[in-house]
């Protein structure tokens, strides 16, 4: 699954550590999400969507 997390984070001038703090996860987890090595759980995906005030499907794009 692809995502626009890095772009959205850059728009807010947040570091990975700051985003991790906002989401309550580790910086390593934010990095794994951004480089698309890890797909988040549904609760985390919704948390990210709420944080950036976007629908989930605008942030996470299925490969198909």
């Amino acid at each position: 699954m692809k995502n626009r997390l890095r772009v959205l984070r850059a728009e807010r001038n947040w570091s990975q550590a700051e985003l991790a703090h906002e989401l309550g996860v580790s910086r390593q987890t934010v990095n794994a999400l951004e480089i698309q090595k890890y797909d988040p759980s549904l609760p985390l995906a919704y948390k990210i969507a709420r944080l950036f005030d976007r629908p989930v499907e605008e942030i996470f794009l299925h490969d198909d």
Binding site: G24, S26, Q28, T29, N31, A32, K37, Y38, P40
Partner: protein, 130 residues
């Protein structure tokens, strides 16, 4: 901060290990000098260090649950690797004992193998998400 790396975890684990060390010394002293000879008191004194073992188990489980979802996944993958690898190694050694006369080893070696393969499993699992 990675799971099982936080200072809070290190302090809690260290405290329980300190208690383990104290209980172990007291237990071994009482047993080795035959201060406690009656059963089942002797068995209970011999098992006393494991009171700290339960504390260590509790600290480890709390730390695991405090991790985020990726950290928990990496830990689970590492434990799966360690579990399987330990089975392969111990079974292999068991067959070597039957076929090649390999010497008997203490059961404590199982934990040494489990701990080592857990470390290797963590290294492998972390690399998958980098």
């Amino acid at each position: 901060m990675g799971i099982f790396c936080s200072p809070r975890y290190a302090v809690a684990l260290g405290a329980w290990f300190a208690l383990y060390a104290v209980l172990l010394v007291v237990s071994l002293t009482l047993i080795d000098h035959n201060v406690v000879t009656a059963m089942p008191q002797r068995v209970l004194v011999g098992l006393a260090p494991m009171i700290a073992g339960f504390g260590i188990l509790g600290v480890i489980m709390r730390e695991y649950r405090a991790g985020d979802e990726l950290q928990q996944r990496i830990t689970a993958e590492a434990i799966m690797f360690a579990f399987g690898a330990t089975a392969v190694i111990t079974f292999s050694y068991g067959f070597l004992q039957r076929t090649a006369g390999a010497p008997d080893l203490s059961y404590f070696w199982v934990w040494a193998i489990l701990g080592t393969t857990w470390g290797i499993g963590t290294f492998i699992a972390r690399r998958r998400y980098k």
